[in-house]
Symmetry: C2
């Protein structure tokens, strides 16, 4: 019984890592499509997101079955509860990538009002945070989980810089207001994605220590 | 065993309704504080949100215990899975109310650039959606759940109107850019709150029919 539980849990972890990889990819692809104004790619983001949603549902169902059939012990309960929370955060990240794709389609072929440097940087940092947060879960490593919150501060700082820059651009030139607002939203979506990774880190800490903290 | 399960489930439902009421209140209070520029009240929103987070954790733990100890049947599994998803959506609504309070504090005592009519309207609609979505869960009523998605369209329309209005204000008068952006964010937070209520409706439909749909 016990070894069956562990083998099913291992299977769940594999799926969770797969979901994490898909989420990192959707963040990457959605921001690249924006930077390159690649509208065709932007249109495929929805399909990628549907696959993420599908996998979330699959993992969730397996968690529920595992809980109901195997009567796991307290520690296992916490692990499965953590997985169920992690997939919700991952799924929401996918939604934000879809929002980024929508902005890309709205901007269309209109020239970008600024070279996109900070936004792709935020994206890369967020992807690393997703990776690290899942790693902290797999290893039950509190220190890694705390690092995610630390990385989140860097993302917040970039967002603040983008915010200030874009507000100034709008004040100087009313013609840019619409696109500037859209780019500001993208910054906000990425900032939220990083927050979701931080949530995952916090859940891992809760799973390991039983203490609920909010690092931010 | 069975009746014990049902009594625990009933207890869970009471807590869920309490959480829903707290979320409706935090939406109401956060938007009223913004409209009245009541900074003292805005400062209390964090405390209200902490209480929501606490209750979420409590409900989640009880769900997990119930799953593990009672070996519920397939239908009950789905109900508990739904509760676990609902509380995540409710919790996120609380976070958005905190974001609204942050905007209120940032605007401070600076005169509002426009009378707030649409934003409180969005708030009231969202609160009703929260109420209706929980009602649809309690009654396992698909029709009610679908109505929530319908209400969401009204919220989206108001958001679109706010968006257009605020973009125009920014184009006409660069001095309003900063506050206008903040108010646009508030519109977005409320739009997201309504989306979370829609998520709840979708989950109820999934719980009842076993079919996963996205209404929007």
């Amino acid at each position: 019984m016990r070894s069956q539980f562990e083998s099913q849990l291992k299977d769940l972890n594999v799926k969770l890592l797969k979901m994490g990889a898909m989420v990192q990819e959707i963040i990457e692809v959605s921001v690249q499509a924006l930077a390159k104004q690649d509208l065709e790619t932007a249109k495929t983001i929805c399909v990628m997101d549907d696959e993420i949603d599908e996998l979330e549902l699959q993992i969730e169902n397996e968690c529920m079955r595992l809980l109901a059939l195997q009567q796991p012990m307290a520690k296992d309960l916490r692990v499965i509860g953590t997985i169920m929370k992690i997939i919700t955060d991952l799924e929401r990240m996918g939604d934000h990538a879809v929002n980024i794709a929508k902005v890309t389609l709205e901007i269309g072929n209109e020239p970008l009002i600024k070279p996109l440097i900070d936004i792709p940087r935020m994206a890369r940092l967020s992807e690393k945070m997703v990776n690290k947060s899942l790693d902290s879960f797999m290893k039950a490593d509190i220190q890694l989980a705390e690092e995610v919150a630390h990385d989140d501060e860097a993302v917040d700082q970039i967002y603040e810089a983008i915010y200030t820059e874009i507000i100034e651009m709008m004040i100087e030139d009313p013609k840019v207001v619409k696109q500037a607002t859209n780019l500001l939203f993208v910054g906000r979506y990425l900032e939220r994605i990083a927050d979701h990774a931080t949530n995952i880190g916090e859940r891992v800490i809760y799973m390991v220590t039983g203490e609920r903290i909010e690092i931010n």
